[in-house]
Amino acid sequence: MRTITSWMGQAIAYTAFCLPLYFLSDQPSYRYLQPHESEIKLAFKHAGVPVEECHKRTADELQKLPANMRAAMSCSRERSPITIDILLDGKNITTHTFRPPGVHKDGSTFVYGKFSVPSGSHRMDLQMEDNVRNPGVDHTFSRQVQLRPGQVFLIGFNREQGGFIVH
């Protein structure tokens, strides 16, 4: 025989089971960005410049190669790593080097990163090095940008379209 106390006890037990469901199914809330913050997202695919220039093989070099591999030109497949600097109002917020993928480091590099920054109007400077043969910055971008709170500010790059692209 179940008594009133036992039914009440069961009600309490079911409530105890439901309490974590009630709360933990959407609380505590998770603050992804602070108030008045925006996110800068760097995302593009770019092939760094080959680390070596093609050169004509000397007779000596050709001699050392197996007969079926004696191509006149020698071109290294390895590409330069890509180093990016982002400056906001003259202050560096990140410097990161992305290595080319593949065993021979010959693939296009996937550049990806995200950074939370205060919203509002900022001077944004982007600098990229993608050529180890030419020390120093290879591509730059500089502009006053307006960042809304919660905005994802996407930075891409396309050599054909003239370099950095902001959305």
Partner: protein, 505 residues
């Protein structure tokens, strides 16, 4: 058992005792955590099938279709959505408690490693089902999940690191949405069914459905919760904007803040580390192996009751090999035998009246606790009693401490499992001098070997072979099951029986 097991088990037992008082042993949710998890998955499945009728599996159609269900059809679609969410969340609780309980009860090592080992990957499937489900809503939280999952996957060194490019503004790929729909609606549920089937494949008489009272109570509780707090979405996904604050479901999405704070590498190490530790747990340290049961064909009539009763499917029947005029004989798969001795209790030839020459030989026996030894111990202990009444206390080694209750009036037989004694042993004990018998074992609903208590009850009530003989005086046979924490109550029961027997004299 280690200190950790003992301590954890004590704590769980105290909670279970409280629940026994409230729910009764039969409905105690702690005794049905596996089947309760199954039941919650049934709710998830049925509510999910309903949602599927109205859900649009496309990137642009998903969010509005979920919103319509939630708001325009709140009275059914909305409730189904909430049930779907809360039953999934509830399953995380029951599965974690189920695994913890098996651990503290030390039911995951030795022969039982398999259920544990196959349980661990189900945790991954459960979490993946939850994550893919939240993805399908395609709201701002789904967008966050998609991007962060892509970051997690891109971290894996051999991959090109380009998945995240599918979730950029103006570049969202429908491919992943289709993949998620396929995973959530078909592939993961099918994998789950397969894995759960494997999980319980080495045990028989599986407790798939919780008792009706518990199922009804759980459904009502979830329904009420769904009405009080309907499941809602965030705003629609918009890849150029991210909400500052996300209302994460912590049961399923807890890994994402770890990725944000500590990086994908840490999240992977944590996930894989916990998985590996859980997987090798049955061997840290391994359980000392116990010798398995063995068959003596000359004593076996091939009835097959042992195969029906074995809780772990270790006994199966095969065509007879000794030329006797019966069709089958049992064979034991040692790697499945937990040495519980239940098959000895199932065997008609374990009848103690069947003494051939000087030893009792049974078709099924245990090397370390033979039926002959049991019979001898019974006789010796009964003979040693000097008190005014003589009681046999018979039970198992996983409940209360029986040996400490032995005195001049009480002979104790402590077996690997109470399902090991054949009912004829009770008749034999009463004939050989016992005035009464107190049968005990693990608490009702909580048999260490899963079904030992149930088998004893079935046999005593004549519902299962071998029956208790009709002529046996049932008046003086009592059943009171007790865990280590119920030692005092068991002593009281023993004293009460002794008192009754004295009065009856």
């Amino acid at each position: 058992m280690s200190v950790l097991h003992r301590f954890g088990h004590r704590v769980i037992q105290s909670v279970e005792q409280l629940f026994n008082r409230i729910f009764g042993n039969g409905w105690n949710p702690w005794y049905h955590l596996g089947s309760l998890s199954f039941f919650l998955f049934w709710i998830v499945l049925f509510s999910g099938l309903y949602l599927l009728i109205f859900f649009e599996t496309s990137l642009s159609g998903a969010y509005p279709s979920v919103e319509r269900m939630t708001h325009e059809q709140w009275w059914l679609g909305g409730i189904m959505r909430s049930l779907h969410r809360y039953a999934s969340d509830g399953a995380v609780i029951t599965v974690v408690l189920h695994a913890s309980r098996e651990f503290f009860r030390d039911r995951y090592r030795g022969v039982r490693w398999f259920s544990w080992f196959t349980g661990v990957p189900t945790l991954w499937l459960v979490v993946l089902l939850g994550i893919s489900g939240y993805w399908l809503v395609w709201d701002a939280m789904a967008q966050y999940i998609a991007v962060t999952t892509a970051e997690l996957i891109d971290w894996i060194p051999i991959l090109p690191g380009s998945m995240v490019f599918n979730f950029l503004e103006g570049n969202v790929s429908d491919r992943f949405f289709t993949l998620m729909s396929f995973l959530h609606l078909l592939a993961l549920p099918v994998a789950m069914v397969f894995l759960l089937w494997t999980h319980v494949s080495r045990i028989s008489q599986v407790d798939f459905m919780p008792p009706r009272g518990l199922a009804v109570g759980t459904s009502l509780a979830l329904l009420l919760l769904s009405l009080i707090k309907p499941a809602l979405s965030h705003g629609p996904a918009n890849l150029s904007q991210i909400p500052e604050v996300l209302h994460l479901d912590w049961f399923y999405l807890n890994i994402y803040p770890v990725v944000d704070r500590f990086g994908a590498g840490t999240a992977w190490s944590l996930g894989i580390g916990i998985t590996l530790v859980l997987m090798v747990l049955p061997w840290l340290p391994p359980q000392r192996p116990k010798p398995p049961a063995f068959v003596t064909l000359e004593q076996c009539n091939g009835c097959g009751q042992c195969a029906k009763d074995c809780p772990f499917g270790a006994v199966s029947m095969r065509p007879r090999t000794d030329g006797r005029d019966v069709s089958h004989e049992p064979t034991i798969k040692n790697s499945l035998c937990t040495s519980c001795g239940i098959c000895v209790g199932s065997c008609v030839s374990s009848n103690p009246y069947r003494l051939s020459k000087t030893t009792l030989r049974s078709g099924m026996d245990m090397p370390h606790a033979s039926i002959d030894q049991l019979r001898t111990d019974l006789l010796t202990r009964l003979q040693q009693l000097t008190g005014p009444v003589r009681v046999l206390l018979i039970g198992c080694q996983h409940g209360a401490d029986l040996e400490s209750l032995q005195d001049q009036q009480t002979a104790v037989l402590s077996l690997p499992c109470s399902g090991m004694f054949p009912p004829s042993l009770l008749d034999f004990a009463l004939k050989r001098g016992a005035d009464g018998i107190l049968i005990t074992g693990c608490r009702d609903g909580d048999c260490y070997y899963r079904i030992g208590n149930w088998l004893v009850d079935e046999r005593l009530q004549g519902r299962r072979e071998p029956h208790l003989l009709k002529r046996t005086d049932r008046q003086h046979i009592r059943v009171y099951r007790a865990a280590a924490a119920d030692q005092d109550q068991l002593r009281q029961q023993l004293l009460a029986l002794q008192g009754e027997l004295r009065c009856a004299r």
